[in-house]
């Protein structure tokens, strides 16, 4: 009986993985084909590997730069956002701030704006307002890192709020009684307990920042361009270079998977969490 269920569950996971992986597999198939092979009857198997798609991206120095920018921007943004959101939700949860429900709701609304129309004011801000001497915020990494907070902070605050609220107040009260400072409480009481939530928030904010297209495309030019805007370079009037685009997309998966595996184990850490509380 038990063995049967195990087999069944394995079968289920294999099947659902197949569905999940198919589009990614197809991306891989496309990345391994030359352009002329794409326009013919589709085949599921790869007959030959057209490695030029990969080499073209790997040896292209501007793409190396884009990849580096993406990693720096996404990681800094994720760190910044998780830290700020932990502070913010701690404040929302533990302090009696006047009108805090309204502030909370207002922070969330920042994510709702359709981005297209907001690009113009941001472009003006970045090129004409945030200017110090020769330095403009336009086409800088810090510009994107801060901007991504606008849609990532609301998300992070919302997710983290439930997590921080769920941590029993008695725990930090007890720490305060023991003479701990607010910093110490956050660092030694809240942070360990909020780890699963923080990990998920970190992953998702990282992903949102990593994948963002419209802002990055408009507010960067050469120096701070990210890999997603690089992907759009393959769509041209003389032909979308599907193969190289897919190959580049496959390559962007590698840092993402590394980051994911680094952070994901913290989610599992939460499994013992119930015991702490009980």
């Amino acid at each position: 009986m038990k063995r049967d269920r195990k087999g069944l569950s394995l079968l289920f996971w294999l099947f659902s993985s197949l569905i999940t992986l198919f589009p990614i597999y197809w991306m891989f198939v496309v990345s391994a084909k030359s352009r002329v092979e794409l326009f013919g009857a589709p085949t599921f198997l790869i007959k030959s590997f057209f490695s030029e798609n990969y080499w073209a991206t790997l040896t292209n120095t501007s793409f190396q730069g884009y990849m580096f920018n993406s990693i720096v921007i996404a990681t800094s943004n994720a760190l910044l956002v998780t830290t700020l959101s932990l502070f913010a939700t701690y404040a929302l949860s533990r302090y009696k701030l006047s009108g805090k429900e309204n502030i909370f709701f207002w922070t969330i609304t920042n994510r709702m704006a359709p981005p297209a129309a907001f690009l113009l004011p941001l472009f003006l801000l970045y090129t004409q307002v945030f200017v110090v001497g020769d330095w403009k915020m336009f086409d800088t990494r810090i510009g994107l890192i801060l901007l991504y907070c606008v849609f990532n902070l609301p998300f992070a605050i919302w997710t983290m709020r439930g997590v921080v609220d769920a941590i029993p107040q008695e725990l930090d009260e007890a720490a305060f009684v023991d003479g701990a400072s607010t910093w110490q409480v956050i660092l030694h009481v809240i942070l360990p307990l909020a780890r699963p939530g923080l990990a998920v928030t970190g992953i998702l904010t990282w992903v949102f920042a990593w994948n963002e297209y419209l802002f990055a495309a408009t507010l960067t030019s050469v120096h701070a361009r990210t890999i997603t805007t690089g992907l759009a370079e393959f769509v041209t009037v003389t032909g979308t270079n599907w193969g190289q685009m897919a190959a580049t997309a496959m390559l962007t998966l590698i840092p993402a998977i590394i980051f994911l595996s680094l952070v994901q184990k913290h989610i599992v850490a939460g499994l013992t969490f119930g015991a702490v509380k009980g």
Partner: protein
């Protein structure tokens, strides 16, 4: 012992960033929305036009249709994602061989940029060449032409969105499930509750904040989807998948109709806020706010 000022201090960086990068552009867009401004009109300067943009907007059937389509898209996609995501999260709470491997696989779609997701799905569904239409036709004789039939295109965008974003829901719910206290479940077991009752009276209330967070985040993201659908169908066939984000994008970029686009953005933002607020007030705040302090 805990002065408000410390709390505000913790909030401050968040508020400052959101003010500078969120509120300032908002104010600009608000001002622009009362102007008639198109770079390539006969008169390219900004002219105050009162509420004319809004007046045009309430009669713009294209815009209203795209709002309606977006709403349908959002509801279908988000509902499927929540159900599927909850289901998967529950399954991931169990122990089975190769668990972390499968979990990684089920998170992968999230890691792909929407532009690339749109491109991949486009290549999978392009009539005649993509494997899906090709084999549907070959094996079942089914005519799957998303560039021709509106219903199929709509359905495909929903499936693509579900494929891409269900992992987000799974992860959020998984985190919430794993940090859930064990007590209430043990209590329910002692009280002799069956599975459905446990789900309804214990799991669901405890999960509510996480589920709501997922619903809201997904709903607002669905309301402003641009990249994926733009790559997949370009908003076609005709206006079938021209969701509001895409519609605004077309007005602001190619048409350079900044005033009208701003008004459109604000009304979309307004509707999203009202929708979320109603949900929020109805589902979350209601009980909390009525609670005596």
């Amino acid at each position: 012992m805990r002065p408000q000022s410390v709390g505000w201090l913790f909030m401050a960086p968040t508020l400052v960033i959101l003010f500078v990068f969120g509120v300032l552009p908002f104010v600009y867009v608000l001002v622009i929305s009362f102007f008639d401004w198109n770079s390539f009109a006969a008169d390219p300067t900004m002219r105050f036009s009162g509420v004319q943009n809004y007046r045009d907007l309430v009669f713009d059937t294209g815009y209203l249709m795209s709002l309606w389509n977006t709403l349908k898209f959002g509801v279908f996609a988000v509902a499927s994602e929540i159900v599927l995501g909850y289901f998967l999260a529950q399954l991931f709470m169990r122990n089975f061989p190769l668990k972390s491997f499968f979990r990684t696989i089920h998170t992968l779609p999230l890691m792909i940029a929407p532009v690339a997701v749109g491109a991949t799905w486009r290549l999978m569904t392009v009539p005649g060449l993509g494997p899906i239409p090709y084999y549907l036709d070959k094996w079942f004789g089914y005519d799957y032409l998303i560039s021709r039939y509106a219903g199929q295109a709509f359905f495909t965008t929903v499936v693509m969105d579900v494929w891409h974003w269900t992992p987000l829901v799974t992860l959020t719910l998984l985190a919430a499930l794993s940090s859930m206290p064990k007590e209430p479940f043990e209590q329910a077991q002692i009280d002799g509750a069956n599975k459905l009752q446990t789900f309804w009276y214990v799991t669901l209330p405890l999960l509510k904040p996480a589920i709501l967070a997922a619903v809201f985040i997904r709903l607002m993201d669905a309301m402003r989807t641009v990249d994926e659908v733009w790559m997949l169908t370009g908003g076609g066939p005709a206006a079938a998948t021209r969701y509001v984000g895409l519609y605004i994008w077309r007005v602001v970029f190619p048409k350079t109709d900044y005033g009208y686009g701003s008004a459109m953005s604000l009304i979309t933002l307004y509707l999203t806020i009202v929708m979320c607020w109603l949900l929020y007030a109805g589902l979350v705040a209601r009980r909390d706010l009525r609670k005596p302090e």
